[in-house]
Amino acid sequence: MLAADGEAPATDLGPEARQTTAAVRELGELVRGSLELSADDAEPRLAGLWDLIERRLDVAEAPAAAPVAAPAARPSLGARIWSWLAGHRSHVATGLLSAGAVAGLSMALGPAPTEKVVVKTVTVPAVQPTVMTGSPPEVESMELIGGSGTVFTIGDDDGDGDTAVIWVEPDEVDPTEGI
Protein backbone atom coordinates (compact mmCIF):
# COMPACT_ATOMS: atom_id res chain seq x y z
CA MET A 1 0.00 0.00 0.00
CA LEU A 2 2.87 2.33 0.78
CA ALA A 3 4.28 1.78 -2.64
CA ALA A 4 0.91 2.32 -4.29
CA ASP A 5 0.55 5.60 -2.45
CA GLY A 6 4.05 6.74 -3.31
CA GLU A 7 5.13 6.63 0.30
CA ALA A 8 7.74 3.95 -0.39
CA PRO A 9 9.83 3.10 -3.44
CA ALA A 10 8.08 0.67 -5.75
CA THR A 11 11.13 -1.50 -6.23
CA ASP A 12 11.66 -5.14 -5.47
CA LEU A 13 7.94 -5.83 -5.31
CA GLY A 14 6.81 -9.41 -5.63
CA PRO A 15 4.13 -10.44 -8.09
CA GLU A 16 1.34 -10.26 -5.52
CA ALA A 17 2.51 -6.88 -4.24
CA ARG A 18 2.48 -5.55 -7.77
CA GLN A 19 -1.01 -6.88 -8.26
CA THR A 20 -2.10 -5.25 -5.02
CA THR A 21 -0.57 -2.00 -6.12
CA ALA A 22 -2.47 -2.23 -9.38
CA ALA A 23 -5.70 -2.97 -7.52
CA VAL A 24 -5.18 0.01 -5.22
CA ARG A 25 -4.52 2.28 -8.15
CA GLU A 26 -7.60 1.01 -9.94
CA LEU A 27 -9.74 1.55 -6.89
CA GLY A 28 -8.35 5.06 -6.64
CA GLU A 29 -9.26 5.72 -10.26
CA LEU A 30 -12.77 4.45 -9.64
CA VAL A 31 -13.25 6.66 -6.59
CA ARG A 32 -11.80 9.68 -8.35
CA GLY A 33 -13.82 9.05 -11.47
CA SER A 34 -16.99 8.58 -9.47
CA LEU A 35 -16.49 11.91 -7.71
CA GLU A 36 -15.68 13.65 -10.98
CA LEU A 37 -18.87 12.34 -12.51
CA SER A 38 -20.76 13.57 -9.46
CA ALA A 39 -19.29 17.00 -10.12
CA ASP A 40 -20.52 16.72 -13.70
CA ASP A 41 -23.99 15.96 -12.38
CA ALA A 42 -23.89 19.09 -10.26
CA GLU A 43 -22.53 21.30 -13.03
CA PRO A 44 -25.81 23.19 -13.68
CA ARG A 45 -25.97 24.16 -10.04
CA LEU A 46 -22.25 24.83 -9.80
CA ALA A 47 -22.67 27.30 -12.66
CA GLY A 48 -24.94 29.45 -10.49
CA LEU A 49 -22.84 29.16 -7.38
CA TRP A 50 -20.75 32.28 -7.99
CA ASP A 51 -23.85 34.46 -8.10
CA LEU A 52 -24.88 33.19 -4.69
CA ILE A 53 -21.41 33.74 -3.32
CA GLU A 54 -21.13 37.22 -4.77
CA ARG A 55 -24.49 38.17 -3.29
CA ARG A 56 -23.32 37.08 0.12
CA LEU A 57 -20.05 38.94 -0.32
CA ASP A 58 -21.97 42.09 -1.21
CA VAL A 59 -24.08 41.76 1.89
CA ALA A 60 -21.03 41.13 4.04
CA GLU A 61 -19.18 44.13 2.65
CA ALA A 62 -22.11 46.51 2.72
CA PRO A 63 -21.78 47.56 6.40
CA ALA A 64 -18.10 48.37 5.96
CA ALA A 65 -18.69 50.49 2.87
CA ALA A 66 -21.58 52.45 4.30
CA PRO A 67 -21.69 52.57 8.08
CA VAL A 68 -25.21 52.60 9.35
CA ALA A 69 -26.18 56.01 10.66
CA ALA A 70 -27.55 56.25 14.17
CA PRO A 71 -31.32 56.10 14.09
CA ALA A 72 -32.90 59.58 14.19
CA ALA A 73 -34.67 60.57 17.37
CA ARG A 74 -38.41 60.15 17.21
CA PRO A 75 -40.03 63.56 16.58
CA SER A 76 -42.20 65.03 19.27
CA LEU A 77 -45.98 65.02 19.01
CA GLY A 78 -46.05 68.74 18.17
CA ALA A 79 -43.45 68.29 15.48
CA ARG A 80 -45.37 65.39 13.99
CA ILE A 81 -48.62 67.42 13.99
CA TRP A 82 -46.81 70.39 12.43
CA SER A 83 -45.32 68.07 9.88
CA TRP A 84 -48.73 66.67 9.09
CA LEU A 85 -50.17 70.15 8.73
CA ALA A 86 -47.34 71.17 6.45
CA GLY A 87 -48.04 68.15 4.34
CA HIS A 88 -51.74 68.99 4.11
CA ARG A 89 -51.42 72.76 3.89
CA SER A 90 -53.87 73.23 1.03
CA HIS A 91 -56.53 71.10 2.68
CA VAL A 92 -56.19 72.94 5.98
CA ALA A 93 -56.40 76.35 4.28
CA THR A 94 -59.52 75.35 2.36
CA GLY A 95 -61.15 74.08 5.52
CA LEU A 96 -60.40 77.26 7.46
CA LEU A 97 -61.76 79.48 4.67
CA SER A 98 -64.94 77.44 4.44
CA ALA A 99 -65.51 77.61 8.17
CA GLY A 100 -64.98 81.40 8.17
CA ALA A 101 -67.42 81.89 5.32
CA VAL A 102 -70.11 79.88 7.05
CA ALA A 103 -69.63 81.83 10.28
CA GLY A 104 -69.90 85.18 8.43
CA LEU A 105 -73.11 84.19 6.66
CA SER A 106 -74.61 82.99 9.88
CA MET A 107 -73.96 86.33 11.58
CA ALA A 108 -75.30 88.36 8.65
CA LEU A 109 -78.46 86.43 7.96
CA GLY A 110 -79.35 85.13 11.38
CA PRO A 111 -82.00 86.71 13.83
CA ALA A 112 -81.17 89.93 15.69
CA PRO A 113 -80.12 89.50 19.21
CA THR A 114 -83.14 89.72 21.63
CA GLU A 115 -83.46 91.86 24.81
CA LYS A 116 -82.34 90.41 27.90
CA VAL A 117 -85.25 88.87 29.77
CA VAL A 118 -85.03 88.36 33.47
CA VAL A 119 -87.52 85.99 34.88
CA LYS A 120 -88.36 86.45 38.53
CA THR A 121 -90.60 84.28 40.56
CA VAL A 122 -92.82 86.32 42.93
CA THR A 123 -94.74 84.70 45.71
CA VAL A 124 -98.21 86.21 46.14
CA PRO A 125 -100.01 85.56 49.44
CA ALA A 126 -103.31 83.90 49.07
CA VAL A 127 -106.38 86.25 49.40
CA GLN A 128 -109.62 85.05 50.84
CA PRO A 129 -112.56 86.07 48.68
CA THR A 130 -114.94 88.43 50.41
CA VAL A 131 -118.45 87.20 50.90
CA MET A 132 -121.13 89.76 51.03
CA THR A 133 -123.38 88.92 53.89
CA GLY A 134 -125.38 92.17 54.28
CA SER A 135 -127.87 93.90 52.04
CA PRO A 136 -126.78 94.61 48.47
CA PRO A 137 -125.45 98.12 47.72
CA GLU A 138 -127.66 100.81 46.37
CA VAL A 139 -126.54 102.74 43.33
CA GLU A 140 -127.94 106.11 42.54
CA SER A 141 -127.11 108.55 39.79
CA MET A 142 -127.15 112.28 40.23
CA GLU A 143 -126.67 115.24 37.90
CA LEU A 144 -124.07 117.82 38.77
CA ILE A 145 -122.96 121.07 37.08
CA GLY A 146 -120.21 120.20 34.70
CA GLY A 147 -120.51 116.52 35.30
CA SER A 148 -122.34 113.48 36.65
CA GLY A 149 -122.06 111.41 39.74
CA THR A 150 -122.74 107.94 41.00
CA VAL A 151 -123.49 107.15 44.62
CA PHE A 152 -122.90 103.71 46.03
CA THR A 153 -124.46 103.00 49.38
CA ILE A 154 -123.30 99.85 51.07
CA GLY A 155 -124.68 98.73 54.36
CA ASP A 156 -122.29 97.46 57.06
CA ASP A 157 -122.23 93.84 57.94
CA ASP A 158 -122.72 94.48 61.57
CA GLY A 159 -125.69 96.83 60.88
CA ASP A 160 -124.15 99.90 62.51
CA GLY A 161 -124.61 102.13 59.52
CA ASP A 162 -124.15 102.50 55.75
CA THR A 163 -121.14 103.51 53.71
CA ALA A 164 -121.70 105.79 50.76
CA VAL A 165 -119.24 106.23 47.93
CA ILE A 166 -119.76 109.08 45.49
CA TRP A 167 -118.06 108.79 42.14
CA VAL A 168 -118.00 112.01 40.13
CA GLU A 169 -117.11 112.19 36.48
CA PRO A 170 -116.68 115.58 34.86
CA ASP A 171 -118.37 116.23 31.56
CA GLU A 172 -116.13 115.95 28.48
CA VAL A 173 -114.83 119.30 27.20
CA ASP A 174 -115.08 119.90 23.45
CA PRO A 175 -111.74 121.01 22.32
CA THR A 176 -113.11 122.80 19.35
CA GLU A 177 -112.84 126.54 19.69
CA GLY A 178 -116.20 128.25 20.23
CA ILE A 179 -118.23 125.18 21.08
Partner: protein, 237 residues
Protein backbone atom coordinates in the same frame (compact mmCIF):
# COMPACT_ATOMS: atom_id res chain seq x y z
CA UNK B 1 -9.56 7.70 -17.12
CA UNK B 2 -7.02 10.16 -15.90
CA UNK B 3 -9.03 12.70 -14.08
CA UNK B 4 -6.11 13.77 -11.94
CA UNK B 5 -4.21 14.81 -15.00
CA UNK B 6 -7.35 16.52 -16.22
CA UNK B 7 -7.71 18.41 -12.98
CA UNK B 8 -4.10 19.47 -13.03
CA UNK B 9 -4.44 20.73 -16.56
CA UNK B 10 -7.59 22.60 -15.75
CA UNK B 11 -6.02 24.15 -12.69
CA UNK B 12 -2.98 25.23 -14.65
CA UNK B 13 -5.16 26.73 -17.32
CA UNK B 14 -6.87 28.76 -14.65
CA UNK B 15 -10.35 28.60 -16.07
CA UNK B 16 -12.06 25.21 -16.20
CA UNK B 17 -15.23 26.95 -17.28
CA UNK B 18 -14.03 29.28 -19.95
CA UNK B 19 -17.54 30.54 -20.61
CA UNK B 20 -17.84 31.78 -17.07
CA UNK B 21 -14.50 33.50 -16.89
CA UNK B 22 -14.49 37.03 -15.50
CA UNK B 23 -14.80 40.10 -17.64
CA UNK B 24 -13.45 39.58 -21.08
CA UNK B 25 -10.40 41.61 -21.83
CA UNK B 26 -9.48 42.06 -18.19
CA UNK B 27 -5.86 41.19 -17.52
CA UNK B 28 -6.17 38.42 -15.01
CA UNK B 29 -2.93 36.89 -13.78
CA UNK B 30 -2.66 33.14 -14.03
CA UNK B 31 -0.57 32.72 -10.92
CA UNK B 32 -2.47 31.92 -7.76
CA UNK B 33 -0.26 34.12 -5.63
CA UNK B 34 -0.83 37.12 -7.84
CA UNK B 35 -4.56 36.46 -7.84
CA UNK B 36 -4.59 36.16 -4.07
CA UNK B 37 -2.63 39.40 -3.75
CA UNK B 38 -5.17 41.19 -5.93
CA UNK B 39 -8.09 39.61 -4.10
CA UNK B 40 -6.59 40.72 -0.80
CA UNK B 41 -6.77 44.28 -2.12
CA UNK B 42 -10.44 43.83 -2.85
CA UNK B 43 -10.26 42.76 -6.48
CA UNK B 44 -13.46 40.74 -6.85
CA UNK B 45 -12.56 39.57 -10.36
CA UNK B 46 -9.34 38.02 -9.07
CA UNK B 47 -11.22 36.16 -6.38
CA UNK B 48 -13.71 35.00 -8.96
CA UNK B 49 -10.89 33.59 -11.04
CA UNK B 50 -9.74 31.60 -8.04
CA UNK B 51 -13.30 30.39 -7.60
CA UNK B 52 -13.57 29.38 -11.24
CA UNK B 53 -10.28 27.55 -10.94
CA UNK B 54 -11.04 25.50 -7.86
CA UNK B 55 -14.76 25.32 -7.23
CA UNK B 56 -15.17 22.05 -9.08
CA UNK B 57 -12.39 20.34 -7.18
CA UNK B 58 -13.75 21.74 -3.97
CA UNK B 59 -17.17 20.36 -4.82
CA UNK B 60 -15.81 16.89 -5.59
CA UNK B 61 -14.01 16.90 -2.27
CA UNK B 62 -17.05 18.08 -0.35
CA UNK B 63 -19.33 15.64 -2.11
CA UNK B 64 -16.93 12.81 -1.41
CA UNK B 65 -17.27 13.50 2.28
CA UNK B 66 -20.88 14.60 2.77
CA UNK B 67 -22.35 12.42 -0.03
CA UNK B 68 -25.21 14.80 -0.76
CA UNK B 69 -25.38 17.35 -3.57
CA UNK B 70 -27.20 20.06 -1.64
CA UNK B 71 -24.92 19.73 1.34
CA UNK B 72 -21.82 19.70 -0.84
CA UNK B 73 -22.91 22.89 -2.60
CA UNK B 74 -23.52 24.53 0.75
CA UNK B 75 -20.08 23.50 1.92
CA UNK B 76 -18.41 24.89 -1.19
CA UNK B 77 -20.31 28.14 -0.94
CA UNK B 78 -19.46 28.54 2.73
CA UNK B 79 -15.85 27.64 2.06
CA UNK B 80 -15.38 30.39 -0.52
CA UNK B 81 -17.15 32.90 1.69
CA UNK B 82 -14.89 31.95 4.56
CA UNK B 83 -11.82 32.07 2.35
CA UNK B 84 -12.75 35.56 1.17
CA UNK B 85 -13.38 36.73 4.71
CA UNK B 86 -10.02 35.48 5.97
CA UNK B 87 -8.04 36.20 2.84
CA UNK B 88 -6.04 38.88 4.61
CA UNK B 89 -4.72 36.21 6.99
CA UNK B 90 -3.51 34.02 4.16
CA UNK B 91 0.23 34.50 4.07
CA UNK B 92 1.00 32.25 1.15
CA UNK B 93 3.07 29.68 3.03
CA UNK B 94 0.97 26.96 1.42
CA UNK B 95 -0.73 27.13 -1.93
CA UNK B 96 -4.12 28.74 -2.11
CA UNK B 97 -5.72 25.43 -2.98
CA UNK B 98 -4.13 23.67 0.00
CA UNK B 99 -5.50 26.43 2.20
CA UNK B 100 -8.90 26.23 0.57
CA UNK B 101 -8.75 22.46 0.74
CA UNK B 102 -8.45 22.55 4.52
CA UNK B 103 -11.34 24.96 4.77
CA UNK B 104 -13.53 22.72 2.61
CA UNK B 105 -12.58 19.57 4.48
CA UNK B 106 -13.14 21.15 7.88
CA UNK B 107 -16.51 22.51 6.83
CA UNK B 108 -17.51 19.16 5.34
CA UNK B 109 -16.61 17.29 8.52
CA UNK B 110 -18.32 19.93 10.65
CA UNK B 111 -21.38 19.59 8.46
CA UNK B 112 -21.47 15.87 8.99
CA UNK B 113 -21.13 16.26 12.72
CA UNK B 114 -23.84 18.88 12.90
CA UNK B 115 -26.24 16.78 10.91
CA UNK B 116 -25.17 13.56 12.57
CA UNK B 117 -25.03 11.69 9.33
CA UNK B 118 -21.73 10.06 10.02
CA UNK B 119 -21.74 6.37 10.59
CA UNK B 120 -20.06 4.88 13.61
CA UNK B 121 -16.45 4.02 13.12
CA UNK B 122 -16.24 0.30 12.60
CA UNK B 123 -13.37 -0.21 14.95
CA UNK B 124 -10.92 1.79 16.96
CA UNK B 125 -8.02 3.31 15.16
CA UNK B 126 -5.61 1.26 17.26
CA UNK B 127 -7.33 -1.95 16.21
CA UNK B 128 -7.16 -0.83 12.62
CA UNK B 129 -3.47 -0.08 12.87
CA UNK B 130 -2.88 -3.55 14.19
CA UNK B 131 -4.92 -5.06 11.42
CA UNK B 132 -2.98 -3.37 8.64
CA UNK B 133 -0.17 -5.83 8.89
CA UNK B 134 -2.42 -8.84 9.42
CA UNK B 135 -4.62 -8.47 6.42
CA UNK B 136 -3.99 -7.49 2.87
CA UNK B 137 -5.81 -5.74 0.12
CA UNK B 138 -7.20 -7.87 -2.63
CA UNK B 139 -4.80 -8.14 -5.51
CA UNK B 140 -7.73 -8.07 -7.88
CA UNK B 141 -9.08 -5.48 -10.23
CA UNK B 142 -12.44 -4.91 -11.83
CA UNK B 143 -11.10 -4.84 -15.30
CA UNK B 144 -8.13 -2.61 -15.50
CA UNK B 145 -10.08 0.12 -17.19
CA UNK B 146 -11.82 2.22 -14.52
CA UNK B 147 -12.96 4.79 -17.04
CA UNK B 148 -14.82 2.20 -19.00
CA UNK B 149 -16.16 0.63 -15.82
CA UNK B 150 -17.59 3.96 -14.71
CA UNK B 151 -19.52 4.23 -17.94
CA UNK B 152 -21.62 1.40 -16.59
CA UNK B 153 -24.35 3.00 -14.53
CA UNK B 154 -24.67 -0.02 -12.29
CA UNK B 155 -20.98 -0.06 -11.45
CA UNK B 156 -21.03 3.64 -10.79
CA UNK B 157 -23.96 3.23 -8.43
CA UNK B 158 -22.22 0.38 -6.67
CA UNK B 159 -19.14 2.52 -6.12
CA UNK B 160 -21.28 5.33 -4.83
CA UNK B 161 -23.04 2.96 -2.42
CA UNK B 162 -19.71 1.60 -1.28
CA UNK B 163 -18.50 5.12 -0.52
CA UNK B 164 -21.71 5.80 1.36
CA UNK B 165 -21.15 2.72 3.50
CA UNK B 166 -17.79 3.93 4.77
CA UNK B 167 -17.47 5.67 8.07
CA UNK B 168 -16.86 9.40 8.01
CA UNK B 169 -13.19 9.14 8.86
CA UNK B 170 -12.46 6.35 6.41
CA UNK B 171 -14.23 8.10 3.59
CA UNK B 172 -12.56 11.43 4.27
CA UNK B 173 -9.11 9.89 4.12
CA UNK B 174 -9.89 7.87 1.01
CA UNK B 175 -11.26 10.92 -0.77
CA UNK B 176 -8.30 13.08 0.19
CA UNK B 177 -5.89 10.47 -1.01
CA UNK B 178 -7.60 9.47 -4.23
CA UNK B 179 -9.00 12.79 -5.31
CA UNK B 180 -6.04 15.05 -4.63
CA UNK B 181 -3.23 12.65 -3.89
CA UNK B 182 -2.43 14.06 -0.47
CA UNK B 183 0.45 12.37 1.31
CA UNK B 184 -0.03 10.64 4.62
CA UNK B 185 1.65 13.53 6.32
CA UNK B 186 -0.63 16.12 4.71
CA UNK B 187 -3.72 14.11 5.55
CA UNK B 188 -2.55 13.79 9.15
CA UNK B 189 -2.33 17.57 9.37
CA UNK B 190 -5.79 18.06 7.89
CA UNK B 191 -7.39 15.37 10.04
CA UNK B 192 -5.38 16.37 13.09
CA UNK B 193 -4.32 12.83 13.86
CA UNK B 194 -1.21 10.71 13.59
CA UNK B 195 0.27 9.43 10.35
CA UNK B 196 -0.31 5.88 11.56
CA UNK B 197 -3.98 6.58 12.05
CA UNK B 198 -4.17 7.90 8.51
CA UNK B 199 -2.56 4.72 7.21
CA UNK B 200 -4.97 2.50 9.10
CA UNK B 201 -8.00 4.45 8.04
CA UNK B 202 -6.89 4.42 4.43
CA UNK B 203 -6.19 0.71 4.53
CA UNK B 204 -9.58 -0.18 5.92
CA UNK B 205 -11.37 2.25 3.68
CA UNK B 206 -9.91 0.44 0.71
CA UNK B 207 -10.55 -2.94 2.24
CA UNK B 208 -14.19 -2.09 2.84
CA UNK B 209 -14.56 -0.76 -0.65
CA UNK B 210 -13.17 -3.96 -2.06
CA UNK B 211 -15.54 -5.96 0.11
CA UNK B 212 -18.51 -3.97 -1.10
CA UNK B 213 -17.46 -4.46 -4.70
CA UNK B 214 -16.31 -8.07 -4.30
CA UNK B 215 -18.71 -9.51 -6.84
CA UNK B 216 -17.40 -7.14 -9.48
CA UNK B 217 -13.85 -8.33 -9.14
CA UNK B 218 -12.29 -10.86 -11.34
CA UNK B 219 -9.07 -12.71 -10.97
CA UNK B 220 -5.63 -11.16 -11.07
CA UNK B 221 -4.87 -9.29 -14.25
CA UNK B 222 -2.90 -11.17 -16.82
CA UNK B 223 -0.21 -8.52 -16.62
CA UNK B 224 1.15 -8.45 -13.10
CA UNK B 225 2.37 -4.85 -13.63
CA UNK B 226 -1.20 -3.69 -13.81
CA UNK B 227 -1.35 -3.06 -17.51
CA UNK B 228 -4.83 -2.79 -18.83
CA UNK B 229 -6.20 -6.06 -20.08
CA UNK B 230 -8.31 -6.43 -23.16
CA UNK B 231 -11.33 -4.17 -22.75
CA UNK B 232 -13.49 -6.97 -24.00
CA UNK B 233 -12.81 -8.79 -20.77
CA UNK B 234 -14.12 -5.95 -18.66
CA UNK B 235 -17.33 -6.77 -16.80
CA UNK B 236 -18.51 -3.29 -17.64
CA UNK B 237 -19.06 -4.33 -21.18
Amino acid sequence: MSKRAGLATAAAAGAPDAGRAPAAGAAVPSDDRALVALAQKGDRAAFRTLFERYHRRAYALAFGVVRNQDDALDVVQDAFIKAHRHLDKFEGQASFYTWLYRIVMNLAIDHLRKHKRQQPVDFTDQAVENAVSEDALLPKIIGGNPGRALMDREIRERISEALDSLSENHRAVLVMRELDGLSYEEMAVVMQCSKGTIMSRLFHARKNMQRQLADLYQGPPPDADGAAPDPEDSPAD
